[in-house]
Assembly symmetry: C2
Homo-oligomer: 191 residues x 2
């Protein structure tokens, strides 16, 4: 499986391609950053992000795209740009029919370092080790994009099993998407 | 001037086309809503928004696109979808070289009702009156899209004069993008 990881951002959008399967050594295929000028207008910046992502998709033909899930709790000014850059990345992949997965920052950190609260340096160090690189990829956005791709490759088997189980369950005519563990409505009010 | 107003949203993206110039009666060319299914995955929804916006651009060939400026102070869950839908709208217009303007909700309300704190009903009533419609456009997202287009047509002359003044000033060799009012670096440390 070849995965393009995208750490979305308007000023720096990290991109990294990793190939491999869970349980085997992974290979880095490429890493980089799509940059746009902070003093350019929003529309031009979004077009530049689109062109950059398209180039990476054309060149590396990933089977999956993994994008960082954006939360709006963070910095008010940067989160809008991050959300908009992520929309462009998701759009580019979806237009080609490439499945897109979203992973939270803590899922990514937990996947590559074992701790959801690891710092940038720790993530960079583990990415370097897991991909057998000579030095940590720079800037941090590039390392984060590779971490996203690794996270996706390692989480994919579990996610696939989950999806298969849900599909199987649904096809058997269970009671809707909430699944079999939905508590009975009359319960939970016995206080 | 023909303006496509876009009230961005993932579930309902309002679109409205208005033609006219400031100081003259305005004409509604078209109004509608681009909808995507809430239970569909994000990538598909963004592709559907893109296709919808492209269709409106193809059919109505606007000179300008006016999009509501999204703030992240609002509802945490919906703001991300709004930001992502707006990114797609801005991208579609910019790819074609159509200038995009962003207006805040209060700028739009102030433009069409005279008050930045007007409610939905008031905006709908004024859009109906200004465009000489038989009834307020529904849903509210469609009326808001028309209000955005009207706001843009009315604000455009002032914005153009401002841009011309800035361009003239810059071409005369002012001290960089921050303008002439940048304080001298040695100042402000005299405590």
């Amino acid at each position: 499986m070849r995965v393009l990881g995208v750490d979305p951002g308007l000023t720096r959008c990290g991109v990294g391609v990793v190939e491999g399967v869970a349980g085997r050594p992974l290979t880095m295929i490429g890493v980089g950053v799509v940059r746009t000028r902070a003093d350019d207008e929003l529309g031009r910046r979004l077009v530049a992000v689109e062109q950059g992502i398209e180039q990476w998709l054309d060149e590396h033909r990933p089977d999956r795209v993994a994008v960082e899930r954006v939360f709006s709790q963070h910095n008010v000014r940067t989160v809008m740009g991050t959300a908009q850059a992520s929309a462009v990345a998701i759009l580019c992949a979806s237009r080609r029919g490439i499945p897109v997965a979203l992973h939270t920052p803590s899922e990514v950190k937990a996947a590559v370092t074992g701790s959801g609260r690891a710092d940038k340096a720790q993530v960079g160090a583990m990415v370097t080790r897991l991909l057998r690189l000579a030095a940590p990829p720079k800037p941090a956005d590039a390392a984060d994009a590779l971490a996203l791709a690794i996270c996706h490759i390692w989480r994919a088997p579990a996610q696939n099993r989950l999806q298969q189980a849900v599909a199987l369950h649904t096809s058997r005519g269970a009671s809707g998407p909430a699944g079999p563990h939905t508590p009975h409505p009359s319960k939970g009010r016995t206080a």
